[in-house]
């Protein structure tokens, strides 16, 4: 299974991460709409890292579960963490006034969504899209 990652330090790394994601999604066999969903989700997560944590990384992995292929994206940072996770998972919530649609949007775009965060230590978001 292939695995690659992009360090997120500048705005340009957001572009690199989503291009990598789109190429990987295309290679796995996702259609145009799912490619757009995956690319958009990566873009949102990479932008969150750039805006709130300064730096982090996006890991993109091809996965296979009993013959079903998928793409897994892990966004990891050592930023400030999220104090009230329930609040940020509320629809329409965004601390930067619409800069980034926020995590509920990412969750809707993907099949699986998992977040772990510790204040002052960082945040890890794992998302998966399965190829149907």
């Amino acid at each position: 299974m292939s695995e690659s990652f992009v360090e997120i330090l500048t705005e340009w790394d957001i572009v690199e991460a989503r291009q990598l994601g789109r190429n990987e999604a295309k290679r796995i066999g996702f259609g145009a709409v799912d490619q757009a969903r995956i690319t958009t989700a990566i873009s949102e997560l990479a932008r969150n890292i750039y805006l709130y944590a300064d730096k982090g990384r996006i890991l993109i992995e091809t996965i296979d579960m009993s013959g079903t292929k998928g793409i897994k994206i892990v966004a990891q940072d050592e930023g400030p963490g999220i104090e009230d996770i329930r609040l940020v998972m509320q629809d329409g919530y965004s601390t930067s006034q619409g800069l980034g649609a926020g995590l509920p949007g990412v969750r809707r775009l993907m099949d699986e969504f998992d977040i772990q965060t510790t204040v002052n230590e960082g945040t890890i978001v794992r998302i998966i899209k399965w190829l149907r």
Binding site: G100, A101, G105
Partner: protein, 123 residues
């Protein structure tokens, strides 16, 4: 590198076809360039064609929304054309809505709708 997006003038309208994926700095530069050009040529309408664009994230959508509002402050109207199914789906799933904008399937439809919105004058 920031890409320069060509802005064409046709009668009293500006026409823009965005041909490549927008990164953040390019989108912000485009916003300034478009408003500058609008003021220079005293255009009344703007058509932005997105038919070559395969994905828009919340940041680019916000810039587009800002452009629509800023253009309206300057007395002109914006039409967005050629939004692909994948973009329509992801934007709605993300929870983003572009408000107060005329949309059309293609450039031709966009120009017709803009013409109507501008009071029926020929473009």
């Amino acid at each position: 590198m920031v890409l320069n997006i060509p802005i064409l003038k046709l009668q009293d309208c500006l026409i823009v076809s965005i041909q490549s994926e927008l990164d953040d700095p390019t989108a912000m530069q485009f916003q300034t360039d478009l408003l500058q050009k609008l003021s220079e040529v005293k255009a009344r309408g703007v058509v932005i064609d997105l038919s070559c664009i395969e994905f828009i994230d919340s940041f680019i959508a916000r810039i587009l929304g800002d452009i629509i509002r800023m253009t309206s402050l300057m007395g002109a109207k914006v039409t967005i054309t050629g939004i692909q199914p994948s973009i329509a789906i992801t934007l709605v799933e993300l929870g983003i809505y572009l408000k107060d904008v005329i949309t059309a399937l293609d450039l031709e439809g966009g120009l017709t709708k803009l013409q109507k919105a501008l009071g029926g004058r020929k473009i």
